[in-house]
Amino acid sequence: MSPDWWLYLSAALFSVGAAGVLLRRNAIVVFMCVELMLNAVNLTLVTFSRINGDLDGQIIAFFVMVVAAAEVVVGLAIIVTIFRTRRTASLDEANLLKY
């Protein structure tokens, strides 16, 4: 077996995450699916780093983790704020800009 199998695993995880973003209505679960996609990309970067034989891929994966941590903090704060004003965490309810 070659390390490409990890790439296939990460492709599968990314697709599952993308389908989850489209499927789910709960904002927190959608956010979890976004995290799943970020993790899948990190797995790709780590595998690329191994295939290429240098550590740049791992450095980029590290930066992705930092950005994801910051993104989780701000995104969850936005969800909490919306929940506080509208008493819902459903994505369908946040539709004021539609009208």
Partner: protein, 309 residues
Amino acid sequence: MTSLTLNSLALAASHMSTAETVGFWILAPIALLGALGVIFARSAVHAGLLLGLVMLSLGVVYGVQDAQFLMFVQLIVYAGAVMSLFLFVLMLVGIDSSDSLVETLRAQRPLALLLGLGFAVLLVAGIADATTGTTSAGLEEANADGNVLGLAKLLFTRYVFAFELTSALLITAALGAMVLTHREKIGPKLTQKMMMQERVRGGRPSPLPGPGVFARSNAVGTPALLPDGTAASESVSPSVAQTLAGRGVESVVGRHPATIDAQPAPVEPESFEAESFQPETFEAEPFEWAPSSPESPPEPEPATTEEDA
């Protein structure tokens, strides 16, 4: 190191070792099933825990792939901090906030599944096309001084500017979260004296009845029983009632709190004429004469007041 040994190392690294193959076939199904569980779990808490499982297995995958530093960062930052933040917000928002089953877009779910499947096929085909014939170099040379040292050498030389920028990003994110969740105080701060006055004038100076007093069980979801056998709905906290309603719990601990006012409590058969002691007659009397004599000292009202209206 001679080129011969380097070549043999590269040849050895171009294929997964037996241990790594075993690891793949253990970790990949766990991660994939966990990811599928995230999107198909009905409860958001289950989705969060399954996502934690996926992150843990990905951390082990990083360890298998010679990325020891990223393995521990994954375990600490993702599986530790991010997942606990997710679960914290889930508990804050309320575990009953599950998905609405109302379709706002027609055929959205099958289309989303189809798109996900098509995307997977596209990615797998692209990877298969791009990686045929490539050999993997392996990280033995790059990790010669240890993975952490190799990463640190890169991070503080070539990527030092990006590394410094992440500090600004983290501070901005922390400030942003504080600004977003900040709540302005409306009105003065309640002192103990003001709370005491409000309580005495509010019609009920005594504490609310505790849950489960004289009931069949003393769980927090079980209402206390009044002397006439009816349930005191104020003895069940609204948050408990909301949580039970969200879980769909009907009869684990007696009756559903939302239906307390509708049905009288299951009383003993020898309890005499519970109909004549309905709480409506209790409420009506003090409401009649209380405004007529405002200078009289505040009267303690009976147990059922306007709070359960």
